[in-house]
């Protein structure tokens, strides 16, 4: 049975079993990942996946069941189990009726050649290795990740929707004599050229001919690469979820729509309609039409991300970002500025270009107090010129300070996603003034 028919049948089954409302979301697909390190393919992983998520409501009580099975009888059993439990629960403080379906598939999100590429994942991995070596690296590591899936949604308000999606995500870490480089790429389309370009950029950073220099901790102007800006923009995007705000996981609890959180140079958009970005979809999990909207526009908070439930609780309208319980961004886009990277470097009297980061953690997510560790090339800049490579430092600051310090945004955006940028993000280089850096004191 195809996923749309099955999801529709399970909605009917849930209503037959006495639930007031139901929605069934099925994601079925294939995924292949070649992982490489030390210039060899370390493992090829392949998944044949099928996941059915079932939203059930009765008398304002909410139950969500998820199973990794395509068998109708397993779904029926999950619905029966929910029926046994749901009446013993209290009402959900978030309950709101499922909305009228307004969404429709976007179409054009699938690359028909993606499954063929899956059989060539190892070859693409070796292509990345060879390109890195040809461009001056001594070794390379990374991942080629290819996926193809169907998303089917049926709701008790009559939605019967299907979207076909594919993606290629690639990232490469290249090793050079003094430092390492890293780059990432994400698209709905497979592209051998994009793999080579990713490896080439990583290798160029790895091959920088600069001496190691030591600098003291303190405030520095920082050019954040699309990987670093992408990680921090993802943090901002996810914390825009209205549920995160309600649960105390977000600085947007203090910075409400209409209030200024950043500099005029920074605009962050949730964009589910860009056909090149892998997170795109025409409908959310409640079958509401998705839409492009700014989360932050010229430094001012414009909207939180809502589903029908968080919107009802907070007196807002859904923004088409369901998650039945937790709203989320689809793709994040930082509006480009007009600066070239060379112009940003020239603007820095004493600062750093930060190529990559990881391990972003909060002392207080409610205030946005965080630190994150730099990795790969960290380039010291003095009077507008590269002066040396600095060993790992840590950015320790707050999200509002970070957003307020954005002075220049690059004109060229990059589509990135990797381990530390889980949401596909289109983002240029950014110059942030006066970012706080620390390092071990002993």
């Amino acid at each position: 049975m195809n996923p749309v028919e099955l999801s529709t049948r399970m909605v009917k089954e849930a209503l037959k079993q006495g639930f007031d409302e139901a929605a069934v979301l099925i994601e079925a697909g294939k995924r292949c990942m070649a992982k490489f390190a030390n210039n060899i393919v370390t493992v090829v992983q392949y998944w044949r996946s099928y996941q059915a998520s079932i939203y059930l409501a009765k008398s304002r009580r909410i139950y969500v069941a998820t199973i990794t099975s395509s068998r109708p009888q397993d779904m029926v059993e999950a619905i029966r189990n929910a029926r046994r439990i749901i009446e013993k629960l209290g009402e959900s403080q978030l309950y709101a009726e499922l909305p009228e379906p307004t969404g429709k598939p976007l179409g054009g999100l699938a690359d028909p050649s993606m499954e063929d590429y899956m059989d060539k994942a190892s070859e693409l991995a070796l292509e990345a290795v060879n390109t890195a070596l040809e461009n001056g690296a001594s070794k390379a590591a990374g991942t080629i990740d290819l996926a193809s899936s169907i998303v089917a949604l049926a709701t008790s308000r009559g939605a019967e929707l299907k979207e076909e999606v594919t993606y290629m995500k690639a990232y490469v870490r290249a090793f050079g004599p003094k430092t390492t480089g890293h780059w990432a790429y994400a698209s709905t389309r497979a592209s051998e050229e994009a793999v080579r370009e990713t490896a080439r950029i990583a290798a160029e950073y790895a091959s920088l001919k600069l001496d190691i220099v030591d600098i003291e901790p303190g405030r520095y102007d920082a050019i954040l690469s699309p990987l670093v800006a992408g990680n921090l923009v993802d943090e901002v995007g996810r914390s825009a979820s209205a549920l995160h705000v309600m649960m105390g996981f977000s600085p947007f609890a203090k910075y409400k729509p209409g209030e200024k959180i950043g500099a005029e140079t920074i605009t962050i958009i949730d964009d589910p309609h860009d056909k090149a970005l892998p997170g795109s979809r025409g409908f959310d999990d409640e079958a509401v039409e998705t839409k492009r909207k700014p989360i932050i526009e010229r430094g001012v908070v414009k909207t939180l991300l809502h589903n029908t439930k968080t919107a009802a609780k907070m007196g807002a309208e859904t923004t088409g970002n369901a998650g039945w319980i937790d709203p989320h961004p689809w793709n994040l886009v930082v509006e480009p500025g007009d600066a070239k990277l060379e112009e940003m470097i020239r603007e820095v009297k004493r600062g750093l270009l930060v190529l990559n980061n990881w391990y972003t953690r909060y002392q207080n997510a409610y205030e946005g107090v965080f630190s994150t560790v730099t990795r790969d090339a960290l380039i010291y800049i003095e009077d507008g010129e590269y002066k040396g490579i600095v060993r790992r430092l840590r950015i320790a600051d707050t999200i509002p300070n970070l957003l307020s310090g954005v002075e220049m945004v690059g004109r060229k955006p990059y589509d990135v996603s990797w381990w530390e940028v889980p949401i596909p993000t289109r983002v240029p280089y950014m110059l942030v003034r006066g970012l706080r850096f620390t390092k071990p004191v002993v």
Binding site: A37, N38, I40, V41, V43, V44, Q45, Y46, W47, R48, S49, I62, Y63, V64, A65, T66, I67, T68, S69, R71, D74, L89, G90, S92, Q93, L94, D119, A121, S122, K139, A141, T143, V172, R173, F175, H182, M246, M247, G248, I325, W358, Y359, T360, R361, Q363, N364, A365, Y366, V369, S371, V373, R392, R394, A396, W419, R436, T438, P440, V441, V442
Partner: protein, 476 residues
């Protein structure tokens, strides 16, 4: 799905030319109850169920996963895996030879989770909220979220070289976020994570309401009365929770053999440890012994055989200040020409087994906590933490304290707000001045791998007195 299918898969893969085959039926049933400010948000169940297959074919290592409830489906999954393996890369993977287990084991809970009503599992959320509100005097709760999770994990593993392991382990965990705010003083936030293998008896032993009240009281004191940390270097007493995290991050992770080899270079990173440092390099003083032990009864990271069928045992990662024994799977042991120490763990059926920690702790000392404070005389006590991170070779790290106090004349004095400690791995293990005799454990989900695998672990240790250290402070 049945266990017989695993034997069929392994045999079929062998007939198709695989030099090694492993099939794992892996089923996890989760139940999750979430609330905000004592009121229910909803309940979720999740059944993750399928087969993970690992093959070595023409020297290529391939992992494949999916539903496979019939021989036909299983056969096609093997064929699709082999199709991916054919695009080889020149390197020939292998696995170390081991004495493999043939065993069944089951952790029987004192209080089975299915015998406890859903009403009881939801009532602890409301009780914890009432306890929080009842404890606060000046600050207000800005947010309070609780997540209760239970999981039954069933695994059956068959390998082409003779392993057969069947296991069944229930687990429970609780997560709570307490955020307090004051118009004058700002806000303070604490995440509490509790986890164990076993039944509801573990949940009852945690006494969530009392714990929330106690921690909220400490938080309120720090928020309302906390002062800046001292500027001069001071002796620091670290609580077991901080010590446990430090040894997890700066001993457990850098001693994962796949990281040492470089397999995670583009993800979690490499390690400051290089192969020729094992057994030789001095990382710290005599006090620096760190053990990882999957066999601790009731632990969150409990298992008796790993996911390659190797019997589990304690691993002495650092031994009296020397890098001693990395965490090995059969894959890494083959490369290092040694033996596995049963560190192979896979999060679920979609995950390949890779070297992981289980329950990692610093060996205890012989002092009481009071004696540690007396020894510190004039210093700082950092009981627990919120923010932390460590670099990708596991050398430079930072922990920011939450409940923290000045020590004056050997006794706890005024609270301190957001003290940050930032040091290298070698500095920490070389500057352990004294340790308390009591080891306490804390729970976490440790993340690693691509795709990311979160596996349950405990980390712990005694309280530790460190030599003088200059403190930083988190930004405002």
């Amino acid at each position: 799905m049945d266990v017989d299918l695993l034997g069929f898969i392994v045999d079929y893969a062998g007939k198709r030319g695989a030099s090694y085959a492993e099939a794992r039926l892996h089923v996890i049933d989760y139940l999750e109850v979430t609330s905000r400010n004592g009121e229910l948000i909803g309940i979720g169940s999740w059944r993750s169920s399928g087969i993970g297959i690992r093959l070595i074919y023409n020297g290529v290592l391939v992992f494949a996963a999916g539903e496979a409830s019939s021989r036909e489906e299983a056969r096609s999954l093997v064929e699709e895996a082999i199709a991916k393996a054919k695009a080889g890369a020149g390197f020939r993977h292998g696995l170390s030879e081991e004495r493999l287990g043939r065993a069944r084991y089951e952790l029987k809970p004192v209080k089975p989770l299915e015998d406890v009503s859903i009403e009881e599992k939801t009532s602890l959320h409301r009780e914890a909220w009432e306890s929080l509100v009842g404890r606060l005097r000046e600050a207000k709760p800005a947010a309070f979220a609780v997540e209760y999770m239970e999981a039954h994990e069933y695994k059956a593993i068959v390998t082409s070289d003779g392993a057969f392991i069947e296991s069944s382990i229930p687990r429970v965990s609780l997560f709570a976020n307490i955020t307090l705010a004051s118009p004058q003083k700002g806000s303070i936030q604490r995440f509490i994570e509790l986890g164990a293998s076993g039944g509801y008896e573990a949940v009852e032993s945690w006494r969530l309401s009392e714990r929330v009240a106690e921690e909220a009281g400490e938080m309120e004191e720090v928020l309302m009365k906390g002062v800046e940390p001292p500027k001069e270097p001071v002796r620091v007493v670290l609580g077991s929770e901080v010590v446990g995290l430090i040894v997890h991050e700066s001993c457990g992770h850098p001693m994962e053999a796949d990281r040492i080899w470089g397999r995670e270079a583009a993800q979690a990173g490499e390690s400051f440890v290089k192969p020729d440092m094992i057994g030789r390099y001095v990382i710290g003083n005599e006090q620096a012994t760190v053990i990882d032990d999957p066999t601790i009864p009731g632990s969150f990271g409990y298992y008796l055989f790993d996911d390659e069928g190797v019997p589990a045992r304690p691993r002495y990662l650092y031994l009296r200040g020397v890098l001693n024994e990395p965490l090995h799977t059969r894959w890494s042991a083959y490369i290092f020409n040694t033996h596995s120490n049963a560190a192979a763990r896979a999060m679920d059926y979609t995950s390949e087994p890779i070297p992981r920690m289980a329950n990692t702790y610093l060996a205890p000392g012989d002092m009481s906590l009071e004696e540690l404070f007396e020894e510190a005389r004039d210093g700082v006590y950092i009981k627990n933490y919120m923010e932390w991170n460590i670099d990708d070779i596991r050398w430079g790290q930072r922990y920011v304290g939450l409940a923290a106090y000045r020590i004056r004349n050997g006794e706890l004095a005024e609270p301190i707000r957001n003290p940050a400690i930032e040091f290298t791995t070698k500095w920490f293990y070389s500057n352990i001045a004294a340790k308390s005799k009591k080891v306490e454990f804390y729970a976490g989900l440790c993340g690693k791998g691509e795709p990311m695998q979160g596996v349950p672990v405990w980390f712990g240790g005694p309280h530790v007195l460190l030599n003088p250290l200059k403190l930083g402070v988190a930004p405002k």
